[in-house]
């Protein structure tokens, strides 16, 4: 059978699995919360795999090897997002869940609006969620369409609409639970696909020894980080500070409204630590630090040897797939790529629809008087609108799409302003939270579009930096909250700090981590990573790749210490009991 036949066979099996979970949810989810946040009952195993798949989008699968092909090992530092994406979950995940349980929040807007006693912040979060969902999903669906075109020869637009239809169907029918259970198989396909393609590329060279020998002949620009910082505007160079600030942008994935809402949906926080340390930092890290790098670095050498010709970085993965994979494997890897794209698009479309429903329709249009049935159907309608909007944007304006896709994660990182205030008590007045987020979003836009990346610092860092500065400025300029807001925040702080108080051992670990985490950032992905250009080398890896591997291993240990030992992501039965019994519901469900 040909590769294309296997692609269609695999696609057929995948569609059956997706539609099964969609239809199962359609017949069982009868409440608004059941549909929107899976009735707060997403089990350990499902969240573990699905949230990992959602964190690493189709971009990881298709564009990451392409970017390594363009910039070499300096760009391969981006693989550290296997750690920096889940570290956001370590900072905020458990406390988000505790807040959802106690106060009954359904959307992130509920949480921020309650804590700051301010509805303006809700609208800012809705706007962020809508933009994020539309543009990030557009990116995924058009990439899926392009891959479908490369592999089957069908028009890319048809592919994007077809892929959009699959994801739309299982989200609209089954809600968040269906999206999560489909995410389980998507995670397995995503990791398998990356490993298989990387292994075949390595095989093409005759193995690691030959691959390594050829790599040693590459120019320095592919094997070194160029500098710490460039005093320029508008230059995209992978300097030390660009690598660091780019990692900040990707930290925005798990602070996005979609992930906050997903965290409300889990049964208990037990999967969080395991997701952060082992599923993400170790398993996805293993795929990226070895097999994605084989693809990207292999593509450079294959082009230099005149064996393959890539018109652009976007062609790298599709051409490697078509050239080196046998028919059956082509089907498996193709589905891996599609699964990667769907696994990201689905939760964003699903939660985007739910946020529009709850924060706009239910709260303002229907004045909090609306049956479960109506909420579910309007939720489906909003999810449909976001899917259509994503396809419309994706199929009509590619240039704008790439820009706004990049903006999405930066906007997600700006949510750090609200999360750190709400969950960890960083203090600024209510008006500071609104102006902070607003100015952060404006700063992101300016440093992305008008004066791109000044000092080779990514717009996400500029945005959140400005956001925090403005929020604190409001405090020091003398803005004060009213008595009701102050009392409300004191009650939240008191409860969170009491229930989530670490043990004596945990406190010691937290103290140590306040020094060790910044040190890790400085050396692994910060300006000090330049030392790695010539520091040491082992097992045939060039110095910079060796540096990355060592800091990845240290990163796994750091995440283990942070999540388990410092108790940032662990919980115990008493804590869960308190969260379940000490409820103070402030949000109606219908």
């Amino acid at each position: 059978m040909s590769g294309t036949t296997w692609v269609y066979i695999m696609l057929g099996i995948y569609i059956v699995y997706c539609f099964y979970w969609g239809l199962r949810g359609y017949f069982t989810e009868k409440t608004a919360a059941g549909y929107a946040i899976a009735g707060r009952s997403i089990p350990f195993f499902a969240f573990l795999l699905a949230s990992t798949a959602a964190s690493f989008s189709g971009w990881t699968f298709v564009s990451h090897p392409g970017a390594i092909y363009l910039s070499g090992l300096a760009y391969a530092f981006a693989s550290f997002y296997v750690l920096t994406i889940p570290i956001t979950g370590a900072f905020f995940g458990k406390r988000t869940w505790l807040m959802g349980k106690r106060y009954g929040f359904v959307t992130p807007g509920d949480m921020y609006a309650y804590y700051y006693n301010n509805e303006a912040v809700r609208f800012l979060v809705v706007a962020t969620a809508f933009l994020y969902a539309t543009f990030y999903s557009a990116l995924q669906l058009t990439a899926a369409g392009a891959l479908f075109h490369h592999v089957t020869g069908q028009p890319a637009a048809f592919g994007a609409i077809f892929m959009g239809f699959i994801v739309w169907f299982y989200i609209c029918t089954g809600g968040l639970k269906a999206s999560t259970w489909v995410g389980v198989i998507q995670f397995i396909l995503l990791v398998s696909g990356i490993v298989i393609l990387g292994a075949y590329v390595l095989h093409e060279f005759g193995g690691w020894t030959e691959f390594s020998a050829q790599m040693a002949t590459l120019e320095a620009r592919y094997l070194e980080v160029p500098s710490i910082i460039n005093f320029t505007v508008g230059e995209r160079a992978w300097t030390g500070v660009m690598i660091l600030s780019y990692m900040f942008a990707l930290m925005g994935i798990q602070s996005s409204p979609a992930f906050t809402m997903w965290t409300f949906g889990i049964k208990d926080p037990k999967p969080l630590a395991w997701q952060h340390v082992f599923m993400s930092t170790f398993i996805v890290g293993f795929a990226l630090f070895f097999f994605t790098a084989f693809q990207g670095m292999g593509a450079i050498m294959l082009q230099k040897a005149g064996i393959l010709e890539f018109a652009s970085d976007r062609d790298v993965v599709p051409i490697l797939m078509k050239t080196y994979l046998p028919p059956f494997m082509l089907g498996v890897v193709f589905i891996g790529a599609i699964a990667a794209m769907h696994s990201t698009a689905a939760p964003y479309i699903g939660t985007g629809g739910s946020i529009l429903l709850r924060d706009i329709w239910w709260r303002y249009v229907r004045k909090q008087q609306c049956s479960d049935r109506e909420q579910i159907w309007v939720n489906r309608l909003f999810a449909t609108i976001i899917t259509i909007a994503a396809l419309a944007v994706g199929l009509t304006s590619t240039a704008v799409l790439v820009m706004l896709g990049g903006l999405a994660t930066a906007f997600g990182f700006v949510m750090y302003v609200l999360l750190s205030g709400t969950l960890w008590g960083l203090r600024w007045p209510s008006i500071g939270s609104v102006l902070g987020v607003l100015s952060g979003m404006v700063a992101v836009f300016i440093t992305y579009r008008i004066y791109p990346e000044p000092l080779t610092i990514h717009c996400a860092a500029w945005g959140t930096g400005v956001g925090l500065l403005v929020a604190y400025a409001c405090r020091f300029l003398g803005f004060r909250d009213n008595e009701e807001t102050i009392q409300r925040q004191q009650e939240v702080r008191g409860w969170l700090d009491r229930v989530d108080e670490p043990s004596e051992s945990g406190k010691k670990w937290r103290k140590a981590m306040k020094v060790l985490v910044p040190l890790w950032y400085l050396f692994a992905i910060g300006p000090a990573c330049l030392i790695g250009n010539k520091a040491f080398s082992f097992a045939g890896f060039p110095p910079l790749w060796s540096w990355q591997l060592v800091w990845w291993i240290l990163g796994i240990i750091m995440m283990w210490a942070l999540c388990f030992k410092a108790e940032m992501s662990t919980t115990n039965e008493e804590q869960i009991r308190q969260a379940n019994s000490e409820t103070m519901i402030v949000v109606k469900e219908n």
Binding site: G206, F286, E504, I556, I557, W560
Partner: protein, 50 residues
């Protein structure tokens, strides 16, 4: 012996054992994972992957 009462927990839990007792699940997994990675890199260096 071998049982520690954590002030924040209402149930008795086996102590993590710094002195030869039972290790926690996450500690065992960490050792396994680090061992796997170092073993994998060593095998690559020894030419097991060609």
């Amino acid at each position: 012996l071998g049982i520690a009462i954590n002030a924040n927990r209402t149930t008795l839990q086996p102590a993590i054992s710094r002195k030869g007792g039972q290790m926690k699940k996450e500690d065992r997994y960490l050792i396994l994972v680090i061992g796997f990675i170092i073993g994998w890199i060593t095998m690559m260096g020894m030419g097991v992957l060609g």
